[in-house]
């Protein structure tokens, strides 16, 4: 049981890091789009 917890923790960290960074990039992209719209320029 203890070992299963370690395995789950490893997968949560491994996959979570990737997905978490993806989410961060998505939010950053949205923030940039909003700023560009506000300034009246951009794409």
């Amino acid at each position: 049981m203890m070992h299963t917890r370690y395995v789950i923790a490893a997968y949560v960290i491994g996959v979570g890091l990737l997905l978490g960074y993806g989410l961060l990039l998505w939010l950053e992209g949205r923030r940039l789009s909003r700023r560009q719209r506000k300034n009246g320029g951009g794409r």
């Binding site: 203890m2 070992h3 490893a10 997968y11 960290i13 960074y21 990039l25 992209g29 940039l32 320029g41």
Partner: protein, 235 residues
């Protein structure tokens, strides 16, 4: 724009399906290892993370070479994107490796050659990112980062070869997968991890380009005529 959105949706569906398949295979299909038991299953995420970390480092290396050759900001943005993803993947490799070590060898960390070189790799790319934020001039930053990016890559073969050339009491050079189900599970795990890693590099690169363009537009609007200000670029 619509094409880009279709690509994003296609990628999302592919990643979700591959992740589900990989998770199901890992949980129910792949048997426990005879020696290490259930702990060995960490290997299915650990190795794809490590190989993709090497690929991200290779991206930085190629981008650095490209920048020094052509001096285009495109390469610099690619290098910056690759380095961020390399740090992220190296962090994943180190953490999953530490959890595996804790349960398999009863220690979180041992200063063995492969572990030491892996930590060095992580540090080298963290320093790469620090160098980028510490240099104000975009051109100078790009050149210094490119030269550093080339030399940092030298650690990748050291990580790869260390467990093979130097005797390592903990980290094995190769992990033997006894059954076909184990081998299939490992191959399937490469799909989502590689897709997500590549997607992250592309997404970060696109964002870097947009930020650079945005800064260029802002500079063009604010700087009075007669003064030429160069584009900011990505730290």
């Amino acid at each position: 724009m619509a094409g880009q959105r279709n690509w994003a949706w296609g990628g999302f569906i592919a990643v979700t399906m591959a992740s589900l398949a990989a998770a199901l295979l890992m949980a129910w299909q792949a048997p426990d290892d005879i020696e290490q038991g259930v702990m060995q299953k960490i290997f299915y995420v650990h190795l794809p993370l490590a190989i993709n970390a090497f690929l991200a480092c290779l991206t930085v290396f190629i981008a650095s070479l490209g920048y020094l050759w052509q001096r285009r900001s495109w390469w610099d943005d690619l290098g910056a994107a690759g380095a961020r993803v390399a740090v992220l993947l190296c962090t994943g490799v180190l953490l999953t490796g530490m959890i595996w070590a804790r349960s398999a060898w009863n220690t979180w960390w041992a200063w063995t050659p492969r572990l030491t070189f892996s930590l060095m790799l992580w540090l080298l790319y963290v320093v790469y990112l620090m160098i980028r934020t510490s240099i104000e001039s975009p051109q100078r930053r790009a050149v210094v980062a490119a030269v550093y990016g080339l030399s940092a890559f030298l650690d990748v073969p050291l990580v790869w070869l260390s467990a093979r050339l130097i005797r390592d009491p903990f980290h094995p050079a190769n992990v033997h997968l006894a059954t076909t189900a184990m081998k299939i599970t490992l191959v399937v795990w490469f799909v989502p991890v590689t897709l997500i890693s590549a997607g992250l590099v592309v997404a970060r690169f696109n964002l870097n380009r947009r930020v650079r363009e945005d800064e260029r537009n802002t500079a063009a609007e604010t700087v009075p005529t007669g003064n030429v200000r160069v584009s900011g670029g990505i730290a």
